[in-house]
């Protein structure tokens, strides 16, 4: 281990702001990217399911009206 | 082959002559952009001399951008492009002809205007000559590389802005060597190295760029 204390580690020999600024932004963006992707994926799946359900019920409705007409 | 290219050039020039206002507008855009810089940075001759090559070259890039969207748009709209794509002659040669015509209409006027505008920036005689020469060699590359962007954004919404986003980064080497030639003359290094590299870029731009352009046009026509 290179460091003597946590304070030393955080100070980074007076370059703490720059080092931790880099780490923070990189970590933030590399966590944000998969999070946003997962969210987008969930939204897409929900949208597609809604769309399919709408199509199915529409088709069912059509077939019902068709059979109704044939019974007439 | 040459006949085909000449026919395309002749046709495009005739079409351009019918829309002279566009050419004149692009030229005035060039003049106005260049003239704005002294107003923005102050009239000190020393500073202006230093800025001149960069300013003139950047203005030339922007003025070229202005005329690029029209390179294929007309032919696309009236269906000529589709016929050209179906013709047995390679589409790349047609593009080459159109690139040359575009340079004659949009590039050459900039070259002719450059010495006059250079005087505004207090450039000396040899620097003025090299500036004009660098534009003469470099502007064909702008037309060639720009054609790729024009073909890729053909019929795409927001085409004009998108075109500059695609093409301007690719123009950077031309800008560096073009403006660098003038800088090198002013600082006494001699412009030969810059000008020959610029010439290589121009040859590459004019003779290689038509093929990806033709591919992009086929994609746009699908």
């Amino acid at each position: 281990m290179h460091w003597n204390s946590l304070a030393d580690f955080l100070a980074m020999g007076s370059h703490g702001l720059y080092v931790w600024g880099s780490v923070a932004v990189m970590a933030l963006l590399m966590l944000a990217e998969p999070t946003l992707l997962l969210q987008g994926r969930k939204r897409l799946i929900a949208r597609l399911k809604r769309q399919y359900r709408a199509e199915r019920s529409e088709a069912r409705l059509k077939s019902q009206t068709n059979t109704g007409r044939s019974r007439d | 082959m040459l006949i085909l290219i000449r026919a395309v050039i002749g046709r495009d020039l005739r079409l351009a002559m019918r829309r002279q206002a566009d050419i004149v507008a692009a030229m005035f855009f060039f003049i106005i952009v260049v003239s704005l810089f002294p107003l923005g940075v102050g009239p000190e001759p020393d500073q202006l001399r230093k800025l001149a090559p960069g300013v003139l070259w950047v203005a030339a890039l922007l003025a070229t951008m202005l005329s690029l969207p029209r390179l294929f748009a007309e032919d696309h709209r009236d269906g000529t492009l589709e016929q050209l794509a179906l013709a047995p002659q390679p589409l790349g040669l047609v593009v080459l002809g159109k690139v040359i015509a575009h340079w004659l209409v949009a590039g050459l006027p900039l070259v002719l205007l450059a010495p006059v505008l250079g005087i505004q920036f207090d450039l000396a005689g040899d620097a003025l000559a090299v500036l004009t020469l660098s534009l003469l060699i470099g502007t064909p590359a702008l037309s060639g590389i720009g054609a790729i962007g024009a073909a890729l954004t053909l019929g795409v919404r927001g085409g004009g802005v998108l075109l500059s986003l695609l093409v301007l980064p690719l123009y950077i080497p031309v800008l560096i060597f073009g403006a660098g030639a003038v800088d090198a003359t002013v600082s006494g290094l001699g412009p030969q190295a810059h000008l020959s590299l610029l010439g290589a870029l121009a040859l590459g731009g004019v003779f290689f760029a038509p093929w990806p352009t033709a591919a992009a046009l086929r994609v746009a026509l699908e």
């Binding site: 580690f9 880099s22 990217e33 998969p34 987008g40 | 954004t153 986003l165 980064p169």
Partner: protein
């Protein structure tokens, strides 16, 4: 031989690639985490202080992997673009568009960490150093690619147009790099150049390589995740997507 070729093209169809990618993603995440923890441990806890740059040099463990990945991803993107144009497979275009945002992210991170490195080392956030300038232009190229694909509604056309742009870009990158480098040597007087890297201890090199591997695995995992979403979106009218989503209910 012919058997293997057929196998490859079998995986090139979205329907078979989708579940395969789904199985692979956790493994790449695990590898990214392992390499990342190992690399950062070496880089931030074990590696000694640099003689010239003090502790500030530790940004290298983030900056160099980000720069490498931003360049490497563009090459991979161009490779998929070429495959797409040559074999006309649907997967290639999807892979290229799945990679672009991650490449742009790494180009941005490379610039950001480069600026934060430059401030303590050279006393300025930004120098027109050949590498930083080229990285900036690379970011522009990524943004152009993403903007072009976003502007075209028909995905097949977007793929092909993007592929042509990526290939033109990849031909241009060396030209841009050398012109910028040349411009830089002519114009630069006093400022320090990035090429004078600190003489690297073996331990530092290991830390950097492990971090680069972590970024690599991360990029693969992210690209696979994104390509799966793109597949669902584009193939939403096909039976396999319908069956897949029906299963999930």
């Amino acid at each position: 031989m012919s058997n293997r070729v057929i196998n490859w093209f079998r995986y090139a169809s979205p329907q078979t690639f989708y579940p395969l990618a789904g199985r692979l993603i956790p493994w790449f995440w695990a590898l990214a985490a392992i390499f990342g923890v190992a690399g950062l441990t070496i880089g931030f806890l074990v590696a000694p202080t640099d003689a010239q740059q003090g502790e500030g040099y530790r940004i290298i463990f983030l900056h160099v992997p980000a720069s490498w990945m931003s360049m490497f991803i563009y090459l991979v993107m161009a490779f998929w673009a070429a495959m797409g144009l040559a074999f006309n497979t649907r997967l290639s275009g999807m892979m290229a568009s799945a990679l672009a945002p991650t490449g742009a992210l790494f180009a941005f991170l490379s610039l950001w960490t480069g600026a934060l490195w430059g401030k303590p080392m050279w006393g300025t956030w930004w120098v027109w150093d050949a590498r930083l300038t080229s990285e900036l232009i690379l970011l522009f190229l990524y943004i152009g690619f993403i903007a072009l694909q976003a502007a075209i509604d028909d995905p097949r056309r977007a793929d092909k147009a993007g592929a042509i742009l990526a290939l033109v870009g990849v031909v241009n990158i060396p030209i841009i790099y050398f012109s910028v480098k040349w411009w830089n040597t002519l114009h630069q007087g006093a400022s320090v150049s990035l090429t004078k890297a600190p003489s690297m201890a073996a331990l530092m090199l290991w830390g950097m390589l492990l971090c680069a591997l972590a970024c690599w695995m991360y990029s693969i995992a992210i690209a696979l995740m994104r390509v799966r979403t793109i597949m669902l979106e584009r193939e939403r009218h096909t039976d396999w997507v319908r069956a897949l989503l029906a299963e999930k209910e």
